[in-house]
């Protein structure tokens, strides 16, 4: 047993895994806050894009296009500098400048705005492929529009969109790596990439530190795929096996 403990204490990889555990929680925090907030917002945007109201539809379309068509990196810089401009006139007098300009608040804010545009496009696409027959059946038995939405559109949309949404969640998790490249780092609040960069500057061992950071991203991504796979199974439990949209890691996974 002794050789095991001594190996454990001296192994550079193990040391790195331990050092990077705390930074990893920052990435996880950003993703965990952004996903539940981005989901309903994305659904609203998708409904807006799908709505018959032309102004609403156009506004949602423009929002989705703008946030999908520009880099997240720029969006971070833009919102940060924008909020910074109002610091003296708004946030400081109100006494909330510490909160508004804090990366732990601003990071999830921009991530939510960004991811909801991508997710909305996915939900919108799924909404358009909801089986027409089911909608007609719902209308035929006299469901109200609200009932029709909750019993036909909503469950079908979620089920159809889930594989693509899984990818979006993973991409969002990867995008959390950009937060501290754009926002100020406060004290020792560093995320994986930041800490890996700091470790690299100490001993220039790019292969070790970046690999361990990559390992963290890889393991958590796999976890997301696994959990979302279970959800997909649950969502399509009523669908016959041969018709079941197979959940593979393959489908069009580009953001």
């Amino acid at each position: 047993m002794e050789w095991l403990t001594s190996w454990f204490e001296n192994s550079a990889v193990v040391q790195d895994i331990i050092t990077l555990a705390r930074p990893a929680t920052f990435n996880i925090y950003f993703a965990l806050v952004s996903i539940p907030l981005g989901f309903p917002f994305a659904m609203l945007l998708a409904l807006g894009k799908n709505s018959k109201n032309r102004i609403l539809s156009m506004l949602s379309k423009a929002y989705i296009y703008a946030f999908r068509g520009s880099p997240l990196f720029i969006q971070f810089f833009m919102f940060y500098s924008f909020l910074l401009t109002f610091n003296r006139s708004l946030w400081k007098p109100m006494g909330i400048d510490d909160i508004v300009l804090h990366p732990l608040f601003l990071g999830p804010l921009v991530l939510v705005l960004n991811t909801s545009a991508y997710a909305a496009e996915i939900f919108y696409g799924a909404m358009r492929t909801v089986p027409k027959g089911q909608l007609e059946a719902a209308r035929a038995i006299g469901m109200s529009r609200w009932q029709e939405f909750w019993s036909v559109t909503w469950p079908n949309t979620i089920r159809l969109a889930w594989p693509a949404y899984t990818n979006e969640v993973v991409f969002l998790f990867h995008a959390t790596a950009l937060v501290y490249f754009t926002l100020p780092v406060i004290n020792d609040q560093k995320d994986l990439m930041n800490k890996a960069g700091e470790l690299f500057e100490k001993d220039y061992n790019v292969f070790l530190h970046f690999s361990v950071a990559a390992l963290y991203f890889l393991v958590i991504s796999m976890l997301i795929f696994f959990v979302c796979g279970l959800v997909q199974k649950y969502l399509s439990r009523h669908v016959r096996k041969e018709e079941r949209q197979k959940f593979r890691f393959k489908p069009n996974y580009i953001r």
């Binding site: 810089f77 500098s81 401009t85 990867h174 790596a177 001993d203």
Partner: protein, 280 residues
């Protein structure tokens, strides 16, 4: 030329616009506009590299030799679990260290390496100084490797989408395996691959905003420099922190580039669909 444009615009809009127009055409701003070339160069050259790496990756993935197939699979799937930003930072650093390691073999003495343990480069003589062009090439290749993995997946899927009958017919006519691959599978794959490749291009285009992290003075770096509060001892405060305005310009610039790319890909798709049996 710029002066004459300013004169015309001032004539049209009024004298009030002169100062503003002159400000946004001063030397630093012209440098900002010129730096757009780096973004475009890396996007286009990176995309070319990505298609090349994509073809190699797709070829490896359907190789008959198992180890090659594994390498192809790992390459294609690595971007699924690991963020692109990590690769974009890692590859240039790793390549630089590899080159410096090769340099150190001939340029450093054993004593120097021993005394420099734990630091890099092994000795001062092994330091590899890169110029602007070298950084640019490195960025292109890096983007090619990272987005080549995405492209490989698209190309692999597109190759599978080419109707089997076409390949079998070609084989029946006596084309060799190589000919069937290049003249039928690769030739026909493009129409199936275009929608996916357009996606990869959009990803790559947006990722060019990260160039400032690769030691390149790109549009983002210049926007940051120009936007910061500008105080001149001679003229007083020229402007406060204007960064959000500069970033807003970049925000719209990227949306514009996305729009243009969409148009181009639509045109390409309609061209690629000529002579195909069914519209895709």
């Amino acid at each position: 030329m710029i002066e004459s444009i300013i004169e015309t615009l001032v004539g049209l809009l009024g004298e009030d616009w002169r100062v503003g127009l002159e400000y946004i055409t001063n030397g630093k701003h012209m440098k900002w506009y010129a730096s757009l070339q780096y973004t475009l160069i890396v996007a286009v050259a990176g995309a070319a590299c990505a298609v090349l790496f994509g073809l190699i990756g797709a070829g490896l993935k359907q190789s008959a030799i198992a180890p090659l197939r594994w390498i192809g699979s790992i390459y294609v799937n690595m971007v699924r679990g690991i963020p692109d930003i990590l690769f974009i930072l890692f590859f240039p650093l790793a390549f630089e260290q590899l080159v410096e390691y090769v340099f150190s073999l001939s340029r450093c003495t054993a004593a120097e390496i021993a005394s420099n343990a734990g630091s890099w480069p092994p000795c001062d003589a092994a330091q590899w100084y890169l110029n602007e062009t070298a950084y640019l090439i490195m960025a292109c290749v890096t983007f090619g490797i990272v987005y080549g993995a995405f492209a490989a997946n698209v190309i692999h899927g597109a190759m599978q989408a080419v109707p089997r009958g076409q390949l079998e017919a070609a084989q029946a006519y006596g084309f060799t395996k190589k000919q069937v691959f290049w003249r039928f599978q690769v030739r026909q794959m493009w129409t199936y691959a275009l929608p996916g490749l357009s996606n990869v291009w959009m990803l790559l285009l947006k990722a060019t905003s990260l160039l400032s992290l690769l030691q390149i003075a790109d549009i983002v770096l210049w926007a940051d420099r120009l936007g910061g509060a500008n105080y001149l001892a001679r003229a007083g405060m020229v402007h406060p922190d204007w960064r959000w305005k500069y970033y807003l310009v970049l925000f719209f610039l990227y949306i514009l580039l996305t729009m243009l790319s969409e148009r181009v890909f639509k045109w390409l798709q309609s061209r690629a669909n000529r002579g195909m049996l069914e519209a895709h």
